[in-house]
């Protein structure tokens, strides 16, 4: 063969993949073509290791207007409106260059949403870092949060929620998953399809530079010592440019000027052009000489593979070409016709008078190799030591010892728990995010689920991200079910009905059979749970090769669940409301740790949903990490409506005090009500356990256990410990 082994390695292509390329082209590829194949067939773009498994996920449902395969999934929310949403990873760039890596992650997901014609109205993010006693992890956290704030705030989308977890597992491989959601009229959806032979293909937005070349390939390999040297592969974000692009695209769509549109994300011009052609069954011809360029002397290879941000490719009717230019020029943006739609199904690229690439679109977009990689359950199973208290994962070992051995001072244990890395307040993080712009935020960061009203209707949207990675690492199948269950529970506790979800599947090296086994198990668990709750997966992203120095991260599926709150009056917060309200705990009869009984879970959620609808519920909070004691503390802290408030609780005893206070049993909710009798009746009728555990009031949190007062602490003191936990670790 003409191409050396070195060149193939640089392109992350195998010998057999190369042979397949030769077979498709019936000749040796040019270097530009090799570059194009390498990005389109990268794990990141082609899903070659995950595709066979992803097919098992449910993707259809009554509300689903668009499932996986487009820029984002779309669901119907009634009133003639639809919602587009998706989550995507930007893990690799964020490790190499945290600020820009995270910023461009936000930029990419926002483009996915407005490419379809939807105006982004909410963003969230799910972040994982190594423990903060390492300077490097601090630097990554500060950079990532700064980058998300920089991009989202300037763009003008409220960042309304998310999660931040710490574990040693992410020390050399942080996870940055960005979610965005947009809203539009359901008959005004735009797709990435290059229809209409002869139509101009128009390039809009930022100029093309040498940044981000091979970003998709980078995201498809692990890191070693040379991670820092890959910094030039990370793109630079310009949220101002993106904001202009948003307004210009929506204006051009509104005016009916656009036939098809796709953003240039991973694999840039290559991916957008061949995918648009493949979806429409057409060819696309590009002339690279007219592509707006930021640097001189760029080769065809560089132009095709650049991942410069804030660019879009669109197809318009020939007669509307000038009108499209006018809209983009109004917003001060480049708009240039760089090619046209053809009928031959080929991606044909011209540069300086030569044809530098000529490849069937379908071969690039749909004929990527599909691997049925070997699966093998791991030989060594992770220790079960922290199963009852998973939040301790990520704590210093000394703290874990104290927590597990202290038997008298429960005030101290409660304080340790609420100020621990995984349970302390995330205010330091989300205060840097504009979470109020667009003036729709009803429940913001720190809530079980975020709630955003839909202007012009009585409705609101609830959304949450959940990825209980420790549980998944311990048992991938059950952990994945728990992720779905918890996400649905968060939506229900906020007054919503879960409709559909997007997933970001962050895993280690798929060439490790243990990782592929985890992946397969997670898909099966997620499929089972999504079926059970009637919440299809409408799209998402797979991120493999999350490994550094050969160590795979925890399998970390993050679920982004979206629900509908039918009426603003049903929006329910987690905080206790008023003195005198009864506090009740509802749970299944059999207590489970690290797994979930989906039938029980549904029963709990149905009870909560109906009780909220009937006006019985004052507040609702999902009981998860840190168990009952931590959940109660969280409901007591001060909020916008009131100062800190106390509660006196008789903790139900069944096992041993530590577990009864802090044990993380599945499918539990903490409610307040003024009609405990009615709630009890309903719970018992459905076979659930109901505990009337106390009353809201005073300024202290008092926990009684078997008639002994075991904890008694001022809520404001506890709140201070909770608030200062994260800033202390960062100082």
């Amino acid at each position: 063969m003409m191409v050396s082994e070195d060149v193939l390695t640089q392109h992350n292509l195998t010998e057999s993949e190369y042979q397949k390329i030769v077979a498709i082209l019936k000749r040796e590829p040019t270097i530009t073509e090799l570059g194009i194949f390498s990005v389109m067939w990268s794990e990141h773009c082609s899903y070659k290791s995950s595709r066979v498994h992803l097919r098992r996920l449910p993707t259809r449902g009554a509300a689903v207007l668009q499932g996986p395969g487009e820029n984002a999934g779309i669901i119907d929310i009634g009133d003639g409106l639809a919602v587009a949403f998706k989550i995507e990873s930007h893990n690799h760039p964020s490790f190499i260059e945290p600020f820009q890596g995270a910023a461009t992650g936000v930029g990419g997901i926002l483009r996915d949403i407005f490419t379809m014609g939807a105006r982004p109205i909410a963003a969230m993010n799910s972040l994982r870092f190594g423990p903060l006693d390492k300077q490097q992890n601090k630097r990554i956290l500060e950079g990532v949060v700064g980058g998300i704030a920089f991009y989202g705030n300037c763009f003008g989308v409220p960042t309304v929620g998310g999660e931040v977890y710490f574990s040693e597992s992410y020390s050399q491989n942080p996870l940055v998953n960005a979610f965005a959601l947009g809203i539009f009229e359901k008959d005004k959806i735009f797709y990435g399809r290059a229809h209409g032979v002869g139509n101009p293909v128009i390039y809009v937005g930022a100029k093309t530079g040498r940044d981000g070349i091979h970003g998709a390939t980078m995201a498809s390999a692990g890191f070693g010592e040379d991670a820092g040297a890959k910094r030039p592969n990370v793109q630079i974000g310009d949220p101002f440019m993106e904001k202009l692009l948003l307004e210009a695209c929506l204006e051009a769509m509104q005016k009916g000027l656009i036939v098809g549109i796709q953003d240039m994300g991973a694999a840039g011009l290559t991916c957008s052009s061949c995918e648009m052609g493949a979806r429409a069954g057409t060819g696309v011809e590009l002339d690279l000489d007219v592509v707006p360029q930021r640097e001189t002397g760029m080769t065809a290879y560089e132009i095709m593979l650049s991942e410069s941000q804030e660019r879009m490719l669109l197809v318009a009717e020939k007669s509307n070409e000038k009108a499209v230019f006018d809209v983009f020029h109004k917003w001060g943006l480049d708009a240039v016709t760089v090619g046209r739609v053809t009928n031959d199904g080929l991606l044909r690229v011209r540069h300086q008078g030569h044809i530098v690439a000529e490849i069937p679109n379908g071969a690039l977009a749909d004929d990527a190799p599909v691997y049925q990689r070997p699966l093998l359950p791991p030989k060594s199973i992770m220790s079960s030591r922290l199963d009852d208290y998973s939040f301790l994962d990520g704590c210093e070992p000394a703290l874990v010892e104290t927590f597990l051995s202290e038997n008298n001072d429960w005030n101290k244990l409660l304080t340790i728990a609420v100020s621990s890395p995984n349970l302390s307040s995330r205010r330091w993080v989300w205060q840097q995010y504009d979470h109020m712009v667009q003036s729709n935020t009803l429940l913001g960061p720190g809530s079980d689920a975020a709630a955003v009203r839909v202007k012009g209707t009585k409705k609101a949207l609830a959304m949450t991200l959940d990825g209980p990675a420790y549980r998944v690492a311990r048992n991938p199948r059950e952990g994945a079910k728990m992720a779905v269950a918890e996400a649905c529970r968060n939506i229900v506790c906020s007054g919503g009905r879960p409709l559909a979800a997007t997933n970001c599947l962050n895993f280690g090296n798929p060439e490790h059979p243990e990782v592929m086994w985890q992946f397969s198990e997670v898909v099966d668990g997620m499929a089972e749970a999504c079926d059970s709750f009637g919440t299809p997966i409408t799209g998402g992203n797979v991120s493999f090769y999350n490994e550094t120095f050969g160590g795979d991260i925890y399998p970390t599926p993050v679920l982004g669940m979206v629900g509908l709150i039918e009426d603003l009056s049903l929006v329910t917060g987690s905080s206790f409301r008023e003195s005198g309200d009864s506090i009740v705990l509802v749970e299944p009869v059999s207590r489970l740790v690290g797994k979930v009984n989906l039938e029980d879970e549904r029963a709990v959620q149905n009870l909560v949903a109906a009780a909220i609808r009937d006006g019985l519920i004052r507040s609702a909070h999902d009981v998860s990490e840190g168990g009952l004691a931590v959940a109660i503390a969280e409901c007591c802290y001060s909020n916008l409506q009131r100062p800190a408030i106390g509660a006196e609780i008789n903790v139900p005893s069944s096992l041993e005090i530590r577990k009864d206070l802090f044990g993380e049993f599945s499918s539990r909710v903490l409610l307040t009500t003024r009609d405990a009798a009615e709630l009890r009746k309903r719970a018992e009728r459905t076979g659930l356990k109901f505990h009337d555990i106390g009353k809201v009031g005073g300024s202290r949190l008092i926990l009684n256990y078997e008639n002994l007062r075991v904890a008694d602490i001022r809520v404001d003191e506890l709140e201070t410990a909770w608030s200062e936990g994260l800033p202390k670790l960062l100082s």
Binding site: F240, K243, L244, M436, L442, K455, L568
Partner: protein
Amino acid sequence: MKFGVVIFPGSNCEQDCYYAIGTVLGKPVEYIWHQETSVKGFDAVVLPGGFAYGDYLRTGALAKFSPVMKAIADFAKKGGLVFGICNGFQILTEAGLLAGALLRNVGLKYLCKFEYLRTETTDTPYTNLMHKGQVLRIPIGHGDGNFFADADTLKRIEDNDQVVFRYTDAKGNVTPEANPNGSLNNIAGIVNEQRNVLGMMPHPDRSYESILGSADGKLIFESMVNALVTK
């Protein structure tokens, strides 16, 4: 009565202002593109929050050159109501329509949170429905809200009763802890000498309805309506 909301490239709170005035107050409102050279027909002009021109240079430093700014300066000179919120405030100081400057927050971080503001004067078209000392709860969302002015200027705006809002605690006490960004004298908003141009960092356009956490911001828009009606 007609309100105008200016759109600069990079504005991102224009829809919030538009909704607060148009839907919540039910008053006529229209957008004004920054390339417009006239604001004829408008009775009040709002410069919304956002990141005009990305704030890549000093905030507001580029927006002041937009053609509409000359029209707005003339409009202000003739007594028209000009209200800059957040980035709009920054633009008004850059354009010389308001005194002082907005520097980086002392903590060097963008901050989004609710604050308490004390109404320092009711003698403005923006506060005529409040009582002096009334504490409002209105959120901030900015990275450059640290109000600064040289000593003479500061003395002048204080002496002229041009300080409209100060950051305080819930009880209305001006304390260092209540100051989120390092602003001199806890200043959150000021008017010009003629009292018809207001700039404030906090967002009444995010606090016009109780479901958003507070409806106090609505009082400012209602005061404007009141001023226009009784003019």
